[in-house]
Every structure is written in structure tokens, then in C-alpha cells.
Amino acid sequence: MELTEKQRHTREVLGKNLKRYRKAQGWTVQRLAEETGYSISWIGGVERATMNSSTDRLARIAEVLGINVHLLFVEPQQK
């Protein structure tokens, strides 16, 4: 299914933020996968904005990263 511009943009913001918060923890994708129980390929796909995800999964990732889930969607200049 074709993504809208808004959907594409949301995935990109999510991907960039996920990578940023992961690196802020000093974690590799593998480490984040181990902490969350999700696959490396899935996490990598979310960071590259090629994979859809759900609020339940992102809530788990946010919990592990020690942040609130909404921060994964906030563009840096919006904070």
C-alpha cells in the first residue's frame, strides 16, 4: 500500500529518534534487540523507516530506553 507523505515523514522521524536515543544509551541495535526481545532486522527496519511498527512495541522500546513513548515522535526542533 502506498504511504502518504505524512506516514512517510512519521516513520522517518521515528527512525531517527529511535537511533538517537539508542546511541545515547551507548547501545548497538543488537543490544536493543536483546533488551526488548525484538529482532535485529525489525529494529533496523524501524530505524531505516522501512518497517511499520505498533504502539505496543514502541511502548516496550521506550520503556527499555527509559523515555516516554511520545518522545520517539517529536522532531528535535519541537522539544
Binding site: 506516514q7 512519521t10 511498527s53
Partner: protein, 182 residues
């Protein structure tokens, strides 16, 4: 408040308590705890605790969902009386779930907590923008049933759907995920 309306209020209060006590009894018979009921109904632990405490008004749909999850009929929740030989133990059990316990459960249950936040935020945003489920579904290109489930905290929403609903409401998606302060 008139004497009649006071009497009606008292009956409604008693009915909520009856449902709560019956629910406790049915859970005890099945040897289930709150997590089992959460898993089978999709309702949040916080909501179910309010029902068990007799503090939650219930719709007929909710009664039906609860009854089906317990393998019984809705009338068993409103009519049946359970023997409570050890009422003090039952009360202690209910009191164990203090507000602090609920907060801790929410902290542990991030996925459920997020769904609750989305539900509350979505309800407020729809009210503020004058949308109902049908109009938002049309605006966002999302199924109305999906929006209804989101409003009840029963939907594990995808990010693409979140983005579409945000576009339909004219807001950034993160606003729907903002934590709601108790």
C-alpha cells in the same frame, strides 16, 4: 436532590458493587487474577480494578465482554450472589490494590498504559475538532471500527495509522501519545 433521586442513586451504587462482588466471585472460581482478565478482555488493569471495587459505571457491551471472558452470561454479573464466608479477606484483597499498586501496574504495563493515553487523548482531540468516529474515519482514511477500538483502549495501533489519524485531526502524531496526568 429529591428523596426519589437519592433512592435511585443508592440503587445504582449498590448495583455497581454487586457487579464488582460477582466479578470477584467468578474470578475466584476460575482461580484467575487481574492479568488473566486483562488478557481475555483487553481492558486495562486500572479499569478492571474500578469495576471490581464497584466504582465503575458499565455499558451493556462491557458487561457482555466481561461475561463472555468468564464463560458465563451477563445476568450472572448483575443477579448472582456469591457466598462470602470470609468477607474480611475479600475486602483486604480489594484494598491491596491501592492507588500506588495501580500506578506500579501502569508503570510495568507500558503497552496498556500507552493505549489508555491514546484513548483519552483521542477522545479529547475528537471533541475539540468536532469529529465523530465516522467523520474522522473518512478524514483519516482509517476504518471507523479501528477508531472505536482506539477509544476503548483495545487497539494496538500501527504507526502508519497513527500518522493518518494525526493528519485527519490536523495534529502531530506525538500529541496522541502524550501521557495523561492522573
Amino acid at each position: 436532590m429529591t428523596a426519589r433521586s437519592l433512592a435511585v442513586s443508592q440503587e445504582l451504587l449498590d448495583l455497581k458493587k454487586i457487579v464488582g462482588m460477582n466479578l470477584w466471585g467468578l474470578l475466584r472460581n476460575l482461580d484467575w487474577g487481574i492479568p488473566e482478565l486483562v488478557a481475555r478482555t483487553g481492558y486495562s488493569p486500572h479499569f478492571l480494578l474500578l469495576v471490581l471495587r464497584g466504582q465503575q459505571n458499565l455499558t451493556l457491551d462491557t458487561l457482555h465482554v466481561l461475561a463472555k471472558a468468564l464463560g458465563t452470561d451477563a445476568y450472572m454479573l448483575v443477579n448472582a450472589r456469591f457466598e462470602q464466608p470470609d468477607r474480611s479477606a475479600l475486602i483486604v484483597k480489594m484494598l491491596e490494590y491501592s492507588n500506588q499498586d495501580i500506578s506500579r501496574m501502569r508503570a510495568r504495563d507500558h503497552a496498556t498504559s500507552t493505549r489508555v493515553d491514546v484513548a483519552r487523548n483521542l477522545k479529547q482531540l475528537m471533541a475539540a475538532s468536532g469529529h465523530n468516529c465516522v467523520s474522522l474515519a473518512s478524514s483519516a482514511g482509517v476504518a471507523a471500527s479501528t477508531i472505536q477500538k482506539c477509544l476503548r483502549g483495545l487497539q494496538n495501533i500501527t504507526i502508519d495509522t497513527l500518522a493518518a489519524m494525526g493528519a485527519g485531526l490536523g495534529i502531530e502524531p506525538f500529541i496522541m501519545l502524550l501521557p495523561v496526568q492522573e
